[in-house]
């Protein structure tokens, strides 16, 4: 028999690190279950942000003065922290972005010069809009064809279709999320990547939803591109990274023109800077990069194995409690999933449930979660989504269940 896994995590102490968890909403203690949208920020990261603006705020890379040197050092150390976290071979394979969406657009835009009419691009059926629209735009520009990996009612990708019907010599790039934001499904990305490489296609994996729960080893997975956002992993909004294999980053043209990304400029010709600066035009979110690394350090100090097993415990507990509510249906029941539960109760509109829960201090997300194709697939207007983090507790889940019972009684 396994010992209680929650012993590995001291939630009481962890919660003390998050000042926001002490506040009230509508006169009730906040129960924050919208972690898949954004994670909360520990004091350790807030301190780093305050320290940056209090002590060494300066523009980086070109300044000869002390503050600029300090800021540059801290920013480049942050890049190395992130490099180590994802086990990238080189620090310059880590490109700072404004977040996952920026990273996807950077790659999609770069591929517009590599694709021609008749080439094929494959996307999964459970993508976030941010991982559908840039590729649709790319296909419109280049005449490439967009193909979709379908999914089962459980919310798992139909890998047979991918292998047998979709992948071919015409496939140039495949993109898929590591974890679905709407359903929590953990996708078999190693299988997706290996098969794509056999036909010479590149793969972009959207790691936004995976990063809070799983460390992706980009070398072990033979990743071409991996994109994440800082604000899902205890960091600030407006910051993220694109990991790109060096050979791919060298093949892609720059995304935006501006300062920082150039080596030499004349009106006849500009030569671009080396990686990573080629993709980092303009003054970056310096504090954001440094704080992102602080968030990663914070989570690593707790340990991702501990986080994953504790969150799994919360997921199992919440799933059992939710299923005990009459008429409640869970969408996304894949064998491998993160601590995300999408559900509806009978015919009640998710918006109505979310509104009542908010009044009771429980923050969940309602709607289509920017994944309308998934909602169309299940023929529903949307879902209520509760997503858990390592600072949540079973007691909070009990509060949500009681709130749901109350909402159900009011709305039915």
């Amino acid at each position: 028999m396994q010992p209680s896994r929650s012993i590995m995590i001291n939630v009481t102490n962890i919660r003390k690190d998050f000042p926001i968890l002490n506040r009230e909403v509508n006169g009730k203690p906040l129960v924050y279950f919208d972690n898949a949208a954004t994670s909360q920020t520990p004091q350790q990261v807030i301190d780093v942000i305050v320290d940056y603006y209090s002590n060494y705020n300066a523009n980086i890379h070109r300044g000869v003065h002390a503050l600029s040197q300090e800021a540059t050092d801290k920013y480049e150390q942050a890049r190395q922290t992130i490099q180590r976290h994802f086990n990238a071979a080189k620090a310059h394979e880590i490109i700072f972005t404004s977040g996952t969406t920026h990273g996807i657009n950077l790659v999609a835009n770069g591929f517009s010069s590599l694709l021609k009419k008749g080439d094929e691009v494959i996307v999964s059926a459970m993508e976030h809009h941010s991982n559908i629209v840039p590729w649709q735009m790319l296909c419109e520009r280049t005449g490439a064809i967009l193909k979709v990996i379908p999914m089962s009612l459980e919310g798992e990708l139909l890998m047979d279709v991918y292998h047998n019907d979709l992948l071919s010599e015409k496939t140039k790039i495949v993109f898929c999320n590591h974890v679905s934001n709407a359903l929590g499904t953990v996708n078999p990305i190693k299988e997706i990547i290996d098969a794509a490489h056999k036909v010479g296609a590149a793969v972009l994996i959207d790691g936004a939803q995976a990063a809070p729960h799983i460390i992706a080893d980009v070398q072990a997975l033979d990743m071409d591109f991996y994109v994440v956002s800082a604000h899902k992993i205890c960091g600030p909004t407006g910051e993220g990274v694109l990991y790109g294999k060096e050979e791919w980053l060298n093949k892609l043209p720059p995304y935006q023109g501006g300062g920082e990304m150039i080596a030499e400029v004349s009106f006849e010709k500009t030569t671009y800077a080396d990686l990573p600066h080629k993709f980092e035009a303009g003054t970056p979110n310096i504090c954001g990069g440094i704080a992102m690394a602080a968030g990663i350090n914070y989570m690593n100090a707790i340990g991702f194995d501990n986080i994953a097993s504790y969150e799994h415990e919360l997921l199992e507990y919440a799933t059992a409690q939710l299923l005990a509510i009459e008429g409640l249906k869970i969408y996304g029941t894949a064998k491998e999933k993160t601590a995300v539960i999408s559900f509806n109760i009978g015919e009640i509109h998710p918006y109505d449930i979310g509104s009542i829960l908010d009044k009771l201090g429980v923050a969940v997300r309602t709607g289509h979660h920017c994944a309308q194709p998934i909602m169309d697939f299940f023929k529903i207007p949307g879902t209520v989504r509760a997503s858990f983090s390592f600072y949540n507790t079973k007691e909070e889940i009990d509060v949500m269940i009681a709130a749901l019972q109350r909402a159900k009684a009011m709305l039915e």
């Binding site: 509109h349 998710p350 918006y351 109505d352 709607g367 207007p381 709305l411």
Partner: protein, 140 residues
């Protein structure tokens, strides 16, 4: 009754409630009594695009007054529309154009007026006013 009188009535009714629960329960009741739009008017053209719940609003001119019917797939949203329709239906277009909507604030639903709220109350009011402007132009 004028729009102002009806709004004052609504404010009176809501002032009897002690907490949000009672307000919401009343809104849900109102939602159930909403004058439902005919199916033929539940078209994409008549949808007010909020992020989360769908809202359809239709207006008919009966002699010199506008009569509104509506529907939504969310019951709280239906309650909000029912309040709006009670305030603005069966009124002359010019009066609808001239009316203010401060009563929403007074009945404790101010939070729904924020443009970031997903229920589109602001868009609903705008749509009702747009109908009024369109029919006023037609009436000359």
């Amino acid at each position: 009754m004028t729009i102002k009188e009806i709004q004052a009535d609504i404010v009176d009714e809501f002032s009897m409630f002690e907490d949000w629960m009672q307000r919401y329960e009343y809104m849900i009741e109102l939602g159930k009594s909403l004058p439902i739009i005919q199916e033929q008017y539940k078209t994409d053209d008549n949808i007010i695009k909020g992020c989360q719940s769908k809202v359809w609003v239709h207006a008919d001119l009966e002699v010199d007054k506008l009569v509104f019917t509506a529907d939504s797939d969310a019951i709280i949203t239906k309650g909000i529309i029912a309040i709006l329709i009670r305030a603005f239906s069966n009124q002359k277009p010019q009066d609808i154009i001239d009316a203010d909507t401060n009563f929403i604030d007074e009945i404790g639903l101010k939070e729904h007026l924020s443009p970031t709220r997903a229920n589109g109350l602001v868009s609903m009011i705008k749509q009702i006013k747009l109908y009024a402007i369109a029919y006023q132009t037609q009436l000359g």
